[in-house]
């Protein structure tokens, strides 16, 4: 109980500790101790702004998801750069597609939407008012349904695992 | 005098912060805090004046850094007198405002104390850039106070006031920057040492910078042609604020006196008395424009505001002559015009608030309550402002006329001062006659809610007039002090020695 009061968001505290170490740019005892103090203090100070404790799944899933996204970013970047540089703009088949969602946690939806945007070629441009589907704009999507399926299988499934 | 030198700056600053922190919801406590602090300030500044009268200038090095590297504040006869003047004026103003005005908006007392802090800081500092900072403190506090209670006319005037002063602040930085770029220092005493040593090739830049700085001070001092902000601002500011602003123009005058007698005074070589050829003609025109405005005024506040411009013209004429006699005469007039202007604004407000819908418009209106008493007060304040005997205005003008006798501009100065005095007499005579006499020919009596006997405001107004009486009766000891002050301004060695220790040899130091 005591622990819960002192560490309302353990994962956040961990993240903060990491960020602190990144900030001071050195991995030393002093940095870690001070970082730990801050990592406990700041969530306490700002706990008002974190009304609920979001559920976050296992570390393995997170790592896997991160690596997949990174790879996708790299590949898609090259593809899209090619589109921009070498395709005539008229020949681009830009369109908006709808991605219906199974996710319900706002954190998960936001992560998915963010992933979609960060992987080049697709941008999340809106949510439905009840947050049950995403509106995604594709730069060049001859096969819109393929994009939707890709998103749902590659990202949404894994996020569901992590967040819910 | 040790730490006491910094108290006139710290006391109001801490008091303002305390008011914001602890008592911002309780107007009565705010008043108690504010008035107590101001009374204490009067006591402190009075003892500083006594000290300055008996001692050489004394420096207080903030942060214990040696001059010219850190910031210093300096207590000499001039700065002591100015902070004492500020605190007395402040006491009158805060008493006046504590009856009702302070409730018309938020944070009056905090802003007021900050304002005192800024003004005192500007008077005490011995550093050009720190002067900028205190200018900004006093300006932004004055913006807040000026807009206190809002209202369309006030907001319009406030906009002009603020924009002009912001432009002025930009110019201040340009001026200070150029001076630093050429001399490598910000300390005023050090500046006095460095200016004569500036290389010939850099002199043009130094002169240009110093003159741009002069223009900024002239804006504050409401000198033609940069006086335009004053009438609207003073006429539309809340009365106690307008009264407090009587010291604001003096900050400009003070800065001119300080910087251009210390840094660009007698010992400045080629730059000696740099300011004189610019401000003397401008001051003469200012006096004329001010009194033309007095004649033209259709509202009492406008009339008072223009009379303030006129008084600044008179004051700067005597400062611009830059002789010991003219400066002591000018300082006497400075003391006088501060109290006279403040008294007029306070009394004007008492009149206007009793005239209901007629306000301060100079038109015929029915009789109002307490018009007899207010007529007496107004009459006294008006003759003081117009420079009629027996009050200090007359003595001040005599001193200035006497000091201007040998100037190349002497005839002009005499002519303008005397002719404008007549304009002042006519203007104030018309105004008083309309406000207090003509009302007898209108039907009825104006009833204004809550216009009973306002004890504090009347005390405050009488206090300002009382200060004029004191200036008159004790003219001799006061002018003695002022002559000492002028002498100190002319012989800068004491000041420089106080700040820099021994006066450095002719080699550029550090």
């Amino acid at each position: 109980m005591m622990l819960k009061r002192c560490l309302p968001h353990p994962l956040l505290s961990l993240a903060l500790l990491v960020v602190w170490v990144l900030l001071v740019n050195e991995i030393s005892a002093g940095a870690v101790v001070f970082g730990a103090i801050l990592a406990i203090a700041i969530p306490l100070i700002s706990s008002n702004f974190w009304p609920a404790r979001p559920k976050v799944g296992n570390a393995y899933a997170i790592c896997e998801y991160g690596l997949i996204v990174l790879w996708d970013i790299l590949v898609a970047n090259v593809v899209v750069a090619g589109l921009i540089l070498f395709r005539k703009t008229e020949s681009l088949e830009s369109k908006s597609v709808v991605v219906p969602l199974d996710l319900t946690s706002p954190e998960a939806i936001t992560t998915l939407a963010g992933t979609i945007t960060m992987t080049p070629g697709t941008v999340t441009i809106d949510l439905s008012a009840d947050a049950k589907s995403l509106l995604v704009h594709c730069l060049h999507a001859p096969d819109p349904q393929g994009v939707v399926d890709d998103i749902k299988t590659r990202y949404e499934g894994r996020l569901k695992e992590i967040f819910e | 005098m040790g730490h006491w030198i910094v108290v006139p700056i710290l006391l109001p600053a801490v008091m303002a912060a305390l008011i914001v922190l602890a008592v911002r919801h309780d107007i009565v406590l705010q008043r108690i805090f504010s008035i107590t602090a101001t009374v204490a300030l009067v006591a402190v500044t009075l003892s500083l004046v006594i000290f300055a009268n008996n001692n050489n200038p004394e420096m207080y090095a903030l942060g214990d850094w040696p001059a010219p590297f850190g910031i210093v504040i300096v207590l000499d006869r001039l700065s002591a007198m100015m902070i004492f003047l500020t605190s007395i004026l402040g006491l009158g103003v805060i008493l006046f405002a504590s009856s009702e005005w302070d409730k018309r908006g938020q944070h009056f007392h905090a802003l007021f104390q900050f304002q005192l802090m800024g003004v005192n800081g500007a008077f005490l500092t011995g550093d050009v850039f720190n002067l900028f900072v205190f200018f900004e403190v006093l300006l932004i506090a004055s913006y807040g106070l000026m807009l206190h209670g809002a209202g369309a006319e006030r907001l319009k005037a406030g906009m002009q006031y603020i924009v002009i002063n912001l432009t002025g602040s930009s110019l201040f930085l340009v001026g200070v920057g150029m001076i630093y770029a050429v001399t490598g220092t910000l300390n005023m005493a050090d500046l006095a040492v460095q200016v004569p040593l500036v290389a010939a090739g850099d002199a043009a830049l130094l002169r240009a910078g110093a003159l741009i700085l002069l223009l900024v001070f002239c804006v504050k001092a409401a000198l033609v042609p940069v006086h335009f902000w004053l009438p609207g601002t003073y006429a539309n500011a809340p009365a106690p604020v307008a009264a407090l602003f009587a010291i604001m123009t003096k900050v400009g005058a003070y800065s001119i006196l300080r910087v251009y007698s210390l840094g660009f005074g007698e010992n400045a070589g080629d730059m000696a008395w740099l300011a004189q050829p610019y401000i003397l003609p401008a001051a003469i025109v200012t006096l004329a424009i001010g009194m033309i405005g007095v004649l033209a005024a259709k509202r009492l506040n406008g009339l008072i505001a223009f009379s303030v411009i006129g008084s600044m013209g008179t004051l700067l004429i005597s400062i611009a002559l830059f002789t010991p006699e003219s400066i002591s005469a000018g300082l006497y007039y400075l003391l006088h015009s501060t109290f006279a202007g403040a008294a007029l604004f306070l009394i004007g407000d008492l009149v206007a608030s009793r005239r209901g819908q007629y306000g301060d418009h100079l038109n015929t209106a029915p009789v109002f309550h307490q018009s007899g008493l207010l007529a007496v007060l107004f009459f006294i304040a008006a003759i003081a402002m117009a420079g009629m005997p027996p009050l200090s205005g007359f003595i001040g003008k005599l001193l200035i006329l006497d000091a201007a006798r040998d100037s190349a501009f002497g005839v002009w100065i005499w002519a303008v001062i005397l002719v404008t005095s007549l304009m002042g007499i006519v203007g104030f005579g018309r105004a008083g006659s309309v406000l207090f006499w003509k009302s007898a020919s209108a039907e009825g009596v104006i009833e204004v809610e809550g216009a009973n006997w306002p004890v504090l405001p009347i005390i405050a107004a009488c206090g300002m007039l009382g200060a004029l009486v004191v200036l008159t009766v004790f003219a001799a000891p006061i002018t003695d002090y002022l002559q000492g002050t002028a002498a100190q301004l002319f012989d800068t060695t004491d000041y420089i020695r106080a700040v820099l220790g021994e006066i450095p040899a002719t080699q550029p130091g550090q």
Partner: protein, 956 residues
Amino acid sequence: MSLTLIVLLPFLGAVLPAVMIRAGRNACATATGSVTLLALILLIAKAPAVIGGEVFQVRYDWLTDLGLNVTFFLDGLGLLFATLILGIGLLIIIYARFYLSKDDPMGRFYVFLLLFQGAMVGIVLSDNILLLLIFWELTSLSSFLLIGYWKHLPEGRQGARMALTVTGAGGLAMIAGMLILGNIVGSYDLTVILQNADLIQASPLYVPALVLILLGCFTKSAQFPFHFWLPHAMAAPTPVSAYLHSATMVKAGIFLMARMWPVLSGTEEWFYIVASAGLVTMVLGAWIAIFKHDLKGLLAYSTVSHLGLVTMLFGFGTPMAAVAGVFHIINHATFKAALFMTAGIIDHETGTRDIRRLGGLLNLMPIAGTIGIISAASMAGIIPLNGFLSKEMMLEEAWHTVWFDQNWLVPLLATIGAVFSVAYSLRFIFHVWFGKTRDELPHHPHDPPFGMWAPPAFLTILVVLIGLFPAAIAGPLVAATANAVTGGNLPEYYLALWHGLTSALGMSVIALIAGALILLRHGGLMSVTSNLSRPDAKAMFDCLIVKVVALSRVISDNLQNGSLQRYLAIMIFAAIAIGLSGFYAEPDHTAGTRELLAVSPPAAIGWVLLVGTCIAAVAMHHNRLLTLLLVGVIGLIVSLGFIYLSAPDLALTQISVEVVTVILMLLALNILPKETPKESQPGRKFRDWVISIAAGLGMGGAVWAIMTRELPNSISAFHLANSKTEGGGTNVVNVILVDFRGFDTFGEIIVLGIAALSIFALIETVTQGEAAKRLASWVVDNRRSADRHPMMMVIATRVMLPLSLLVGVYIFLRGHNEPGGGFIAGLVVSVALVMQYMASGFGWTQNRMKANYHGMIGLGVIAAAITGLSAWVAGLPFLTSGFVHVHLPIVGEFELASAMGFDLGVFLTVVGAVTLALAKLSQVERMAEHVDINPEPMDHDPSAATAKVATAEKEA
């Protein structure tokens, strides 16, 4: 001592009537009278000694350096005038008790009267010309109050203002004259000045001094061409006229000419100015008096004329003429005061002062009639009354006077003056007291109460007695006075009724006969003169004042036209002009020799970007949102520039300030119009461009000149050298901010705090008046998204808050050694908080905010102050810093500096000020948009819906 008391008594006593009026009118008058009586007794006690040639003197130092001291002296001249002032004053006080009606505020009257009396006594007893000036102007002021006493009468107000203006102007001229005089002599003491006639008359400044002083005298004594104000001052109550305009104030100018006679007279200039003015005034005043229908008007012009007579006598510059002048002063005071009081009685009893409506009053009011007739006869110069005596002396002196080489001119004009004088005096006698009794008068007249006729009666007795026994009654006084006036050169003379058949007697007889003839033909003359268009002095004066005021308004309104654009243009122009004038005042404009930095490609690109952005910002400034974006870009480029040019702290600060400014401006722009109208005329644009280009060239030129020169030895070398060792930090800029120049920073955070408090105060009043109405009727002017709190943004900012706080702490802690510090940290944290407001809405965020922004501002300032004050404990000045290196296990060594406490104050103030200002400003927005505060962080929380379903399922 008692001399001082004589002057002070009326001033001190002026309090009495104001107090005593509560005890009734008699008590009030008695108190006032007692004051004057006491002063008079003190004076008369000294009279024998003064007449015996003694001079009393008393001196108190006041402003010795200027030469202004409180010094009084009493000689014959002073004695005469003081006696007149106090004696007639006493009579007037008695008279006024009965004259003033119940509705008149008597207390006020007596206060003014005593003030005036004191000022007059002050003039005649001053031994210091500056002190004299003070009393001189005081008479102008107090007479202003007395003339305007009946404030409901427009004539009274106008008359008062005119008197004040004219005499005030003269007084100002006199100030100049007196200062010159004092400088010639080297002293402002009269007794000294009076002994330096030669010095004065030899001075090149003699003529200016003379002219200026005479301007004062002539205006005060209503000499041509300044005579016009006096008749209009007659709107005052009659006691005032009788006092001021017969015996005292108008005599002040005469007094001063008499006083200065020994040093100023005797020159050509004196003769031609003074004698001519007197002569013209005498004749002109008398001529006009003949045709005045108003009794007081007639007496007023008669006064003008008699004052001219005295002036002329002094102007002759001979001792004998001076004696005559002195004697006439006494005589005129007696009969004229009596006549004014009589006129007052007539007015009081009949309700009119119009001679045409009066007649045969002698039967109805025999006492008043007797007084009036005798006094008027004296005024006409009829034997054996005192007026005859002095007029004879005047004519005798005139007979000997050569004017512009003509020996007949002055005698002729003097006689003509005497003729007119007889004419109006006789008119006063015959048209008022004799002839047909009128029935249509407003009141039925009869003799007034004793108290009202006794004062003039007393004076009339003097008129007769002096006439009969001049040497016995007036002789000693005249001698003493004349001795003072002539500076001891008293000629041989004797005062007597009969001097034999002299030329003067002949002129007198001619005057009597001709005067009577004129009166007989009065009706005819009247119709002739009324057809002549005479210049109306009052109309001219009024017209002059109106024109001056109108001109002032034209000048003032055209200069002060309310246009900020003009004021700014003038100010900027002035800045350019004064800067250039300074620059070109120095001869040396050699170019700098500093080696210039090479232009790198990024710098060049940055420059191109900046130029492009600036041009775009100005070109498209009508689109405000776009302008804002462009200015933001300028900020970005400037920050990059700072980094490039070795100023990382500046860059961090600039970029942080930038974003807060953007938020602020966007909040503003939602309320303000989104477009700036195109309203500038081409001419205006041209003017503005000229000024702007000049300003740009000036600034650019100045900075170019500076950057191409070597930096002089700067105080900053000390900062670099001592930052680490003495200040305990390696970031020199930060050490300067919190230590070397911490006082600047202390002021700077106060500026921020004040800004926030002012903003708060300014918005608090938005709920009142016009602003509240406008907000209530606000119409949202463009399309609004339905999504108030986009979910993605809410989630992202929630993650960013702790991160930003961490960054804030980081920036704060490292500031002393690396770029950063309390200010930037404060902005980072504020922005993080503001981001919560932006994403999750005001309601949600405010509910979660524990901090009080007001308190933070106060706390910040106090924290900074306390850190600074803690040095006092060690006996060191405010803001003296200290630092220690602390070694802790695991953590290692780190530094604790007191400057951090100061920086914490900075931090708190910044956070408090920024958040207070922005949160308060957003209140206006909510009022305008008419939307309720949404307490929820998101419009729709999908997990909440799921949770609800889950709970529902569980319950089921």
